[in-house]
């Protein structure tokens, strides 16, 4: 069975998702990868406000291709989530991030933070960037524009195919 859900979402939705669930996600999400995560955590260290609110939000680990003329965005598949393991617990604990979208397994520390959150981790299909770009209806740079493909974008998505890879109860498919 495939669940249709809409982002942003609160703890009730997080708690309703189980590892193995297939999901079609619509709504609004942030993007962010290595460099953006490093900057977000540096701002938290300095006690400064973040350029975007993460509460009840999802971060999609992606660095898209530039849009060709007439397109909203270029290819936009997930990057390896493990590189964000150093930062994710902080964003869940301090900013109440509701979930993440990426590919590949997560560290024990991230899973513990997800249980506290609660937060959920979705796997998108790695290497299917062209297919995924068709689910993105709008893409605007929201912060750190100087980072190019590593900037934080606001994406509006429709029926993005995902799998709940790790749920907020600590169950993992990896």
């Amino acid at each position: 069975m495939t669940k249709r859900i809409s982002a942003p979402f609160g703890p009730e939705t997080v708690k309703s998702l189980r590892a193995g669930d297939r999901v079609l996600l619509s709504g609004k999400i942030w993007t962010g990868r290595d460099a953006a995560h490093k900057r977000l955590c540096a701002l938290l260290d300095e006690g400064k406000p973040l350029p975007v609110s993460l509460e009840n939000e999802l971060i999609y680990f992606v660095g898209p291709c530039p849009a060709s003329p007439g397109k909203v965005i270029g290819s936009a598949g997930p990057t390896t989530s493990g590189r964000m393991d150093a930062y994710s617990p902080r964003l869940i604990d301090a900013c109440h991030l509701a979930g993440m979208i990426g590919k590949g397994g997560r560290s024990a520390a991230v899973i513990e933070a997800m249980k506290r959150g609660p937060a959920v981790y979705f796997a998108a299909t790695g290497g299917a960037g062209a297919l995924i770009s068709k689910c993105i209806k709008k893409a605007d740079v929201a912060a750190f524009g100087d980072l190019g493909p590593e900037a934080i974008f606001r994406l509006e998505i429709e029926d993005l195919p995902l799998v709940v890879a790790i749920d907020c109860y600590g169950k993992s498919l990896y």
Partner: protein, 282 residues
Amino acid sequence: MERIVKFDEVVEAAAALCGKAACFLPEDVKKSLLAAAEKETGELGKEFFRQYAENFRIAEADKLPLCQDTGFAVWFVEYGTDVRLDKGDIYAALDEGTRRGYTRNYLRKSIVSDPLFDRKNTRDNTPCIVHLKLVPGDKIGLTLAPKGGGSENMSALKMLKPSDGRAGVVKFVVDTVVSAGGNPCPPTVVGVGIGGTMEKAAILAKTALLRKVGAPNEDPRYAELEAEILEKINASGVGPQGLGGAVTSLAVHILSHPCHLASLPVAVNINCHAARHAQIVL
């Protein structure tokens, strides 16, 4: 007889290959993916194979990159000793071709200027990597193998002891691929370099990825080794995207080279299921 090739001809050919490699999956890779889909038993795995096939069809039809990580531009050049460029050199031509190709085709620029300190995006995907081989003749063979970071990061190299032998090689390669899990976007193609020196083994592993997917090594002993490693990898159950299934790798390709009597270098380089490459002879 010396043949003069225009610098700009090399630049334009290289730029065109950047777009072709990013958007058009080679036929052998498509065939291998479609055949592997039939072997997949897991429900999620079957769904991923459906998405891979849809993805390469959309990429081709809309000229969209198969994957947003359009990679480091890695060039394998077979440069005829009778060729001379009318100006500049092959390295400059390939950098300029990469720059134009990645910009013109809306490919992602993924190269940072310094690995440790600045990590500032160079904004044109240069510099590229060039593996140059001098060959007899008056032609230039260009092969582009754009390499994504996710799969490249799962590479490994080990200087085994000669006494580790065949079993040691099998264990190292299988452990490397299985512990990579879903990170390199399985089902993967696994390139293995055995022998030579440390750097030679690494280049062999990368070169092995250029072979037609599933074409066995010409030496039956290595062909058998490829089959055994592939079987063990697929028995792991890692599966497509690392979420479980029967197909973790599409093929294992081994290249070997003579080595020092004290050594047994083994390198593993992994390609994701979007095993991209494109070539042309000038």
